[in-house]
Symmetry: C2
Subunit: 336 residues, 2 copies
């Protein structure tokens, strides 16, 4: 295994903040983005936290991410708003879109913000937590560059288009954050580096056979959609919705550009406090999760956990021990 260093969250955030200021983000936005990259890492989502930070900076340097652009409202009707991300940073654009969707839902019960010409939002769960911690239900998704084939096809015309659903629960949240591919390319690269196979099929090899070998999938560039034809279909529909609701670029358009930028995203938020039964919701939720936790595990040493549940343990550990970072990645960041 490669060398790991443990970086305290505070130190990571300050490092990111300084670098972002040096690369043209204004003060409050640099702080917001530094917090998001750090928190994603604290929660164990390193692929969309510390590991991805150098690429974010490089996208600013090449101009694919405009460090100073802010999103602007294009159109509004009732509980729907269409925003132009103006190619600004994906995380700050997504935070802004989530805020607007929350505001709309407070006025109308439900609100929808569709955002065109934005950039990679890193970990989609970030915005789910943002809304759910304040009592809102969040349903959001993004399109991506083509990185997954249609069902039965060999070339990548679909994105893996992550879908996020978040629900307030006790003082925290239940957060599902799932791409439409069984494994991300980040997960494949990590497994390959560790010389490990996946526990279930992750894609096809060059011969068109299903395989658990990450190296074979990286070679064929044919990751497996979740549920085969089902995940491929869901990916297509999420891309279509993001594109037509925002008036932005589809996966097909983004893929023409080689570098992934100018994404389309959707943020649907529901204000639970506006519902007739809002005072009963905590009890309903408690009953569902209590029953779920009574599931009989196949392996009796393993607990059955809901999406987002294990994050709490990782968060606590990383806040105590520092965030584990590949030494060579941290060294790269120190030179940015």
């Amino acid at each position: 295994m490669p060398d790991i260093v443990r970086i305290p969250a505070k130190e990571m955030k300050e490092m990111f903040h300084t670098i972002l200021l040096n690369h043209g983000l204004e003060q409050s936005r640099a702080l917001l983005c530094a917090e998001i990259f750090t928190n994603n890492s604290v929660d164990g989502v390193y692929t969309h936290g510390v590991n991805r930070f150098p690429r974010f900076i490089s996208n600013i340097d090449t101009g694919h991410v405009n460090a100073t652009a802010t999103p602007s409202l294009k159109y509004k009707f009732g509980a729907i708003e269409q925003w132009d991300g103006n190619l600004g940073p994906g995380p700050s654009n997504a935070v802004r879109a989530t805020e607007s969707a929350m505001q709309l839902s407070t006025e109308h019960g439900i609100g929808c913000v569709a955002l065109s010409r934005t950039n990679h939002w890193m970990r989609g769960g970030t915005y789910g937590w943002q809304a759910a911690k304040k009592g809102f239900v969040f349903i959001g998704w993004t399109n991506t560059i083509g990185n997954m084939p249609a069902w039965g096809a060999t070339d990548n015309r679909l994105g893996n288009n992550p879908l996020v659903i978040a629900i307030p629960f006790e003082d925290e949240a239940i957060v599902l954050d799932m791409a439409m591919s069984q494994y991300s390319f980040g997960a494949m690269e990590l497994a390959q580096m560790k010389n490990e196979n996946f526990p279930v099929y992750g894609g096809y090899d060059l011969k068109g056979e299903l395989t658990k070998d990450p190296a074979a999938i990286l070679e064929s560039r044919r990751p497996l959609p979740i549920g085969f034809w089902k995940g491929a279909g869901l990916s297509l529909l999420l891309d279509i919705l993001a594109t037509i609701l925002s008036g932005g670029w589809s996966t097909s358009e983004i893929t023409k550009r080689e570098v992934e930028y100018g994404l389309s995203q959707v943020f649907v938020v529901i204000d639970l406090s506006r519902l007739g039964n809002h005072s009963l919701i905590p009890t309903l939720l408690h009953q569902i999760i209590e029953d779920y936790h009574q599931s009989i595990p196949q392996d009796e040493k393993k607990n059955i956990s809901y999406p987002g549940e294990r994050v709490m343990k990782t968060r606590k550990q990383n806040l105590t021990d520092g965030i584990p970072v590949l030494k060579k990645i941290w060294e790269k960041i120190e030179q940015l």
Copy 2:
């Protein structure tokens, strides 16, 4: 293979209509339900059309479906309505909920109806087509009785909770209608009857090993969620949302009752004509589908089709040749 008869759609609808009138549905509702069961069969979804009709009648006879109950509005705030299905027929309740969500979306851009105490809506795609054919985007889902385990578990505490997304396209629609299990129990029974294995894993056998044998899955009652932990997580979140938004029963509550009734459902609709870019949407859609159709198929004899595309061919064929029905099922229906 068992004997098949071909029943003209008109004859099937009239037969259903007569039987529904005889079992207590009033005239217009009997006609609506007869049409839905017939159209589902015309579109090739026999498991939620003609094959399921006898069970629908039996649920009326046992009182789990109240033939004369109509849904009532419980609460309204802005673009959200909460309805009580009063245990009426699932299909007519869902049509009503979709109409209300469409109306809300025309007023507010987006509308959400959450429906408690309803019954099985048969083919969820029905309501997707209903909305999309009139120019609306539809996102809806239902919970079900427990029929799928949590990830890593052996007992069925999750439903397969079908999710439907529909988008208007040309004069028809793109309609995704997918349960969270890789195969439905109906598909398992059919494959077992034909003595066929599935092309991909469909669940676990009694030893806890993945299998493509439908008989082994029917024995273990452990179907596979799409994408393993991902589909199980999505199922849980869809159940929670349906339950808290409607104030109805969760899968956990429904499962206590042995017979599946009293479901919770969500209908989110967006009126595309209310968007700033609405006149450009047909072009965007056309571009996406044109690119999608250019996918390179692994098997060059096969076309790459979008969700709902192949339905058109089945529809045309069944309208011309009659709907193929297992002889023993049609004989059973003739005696209802």
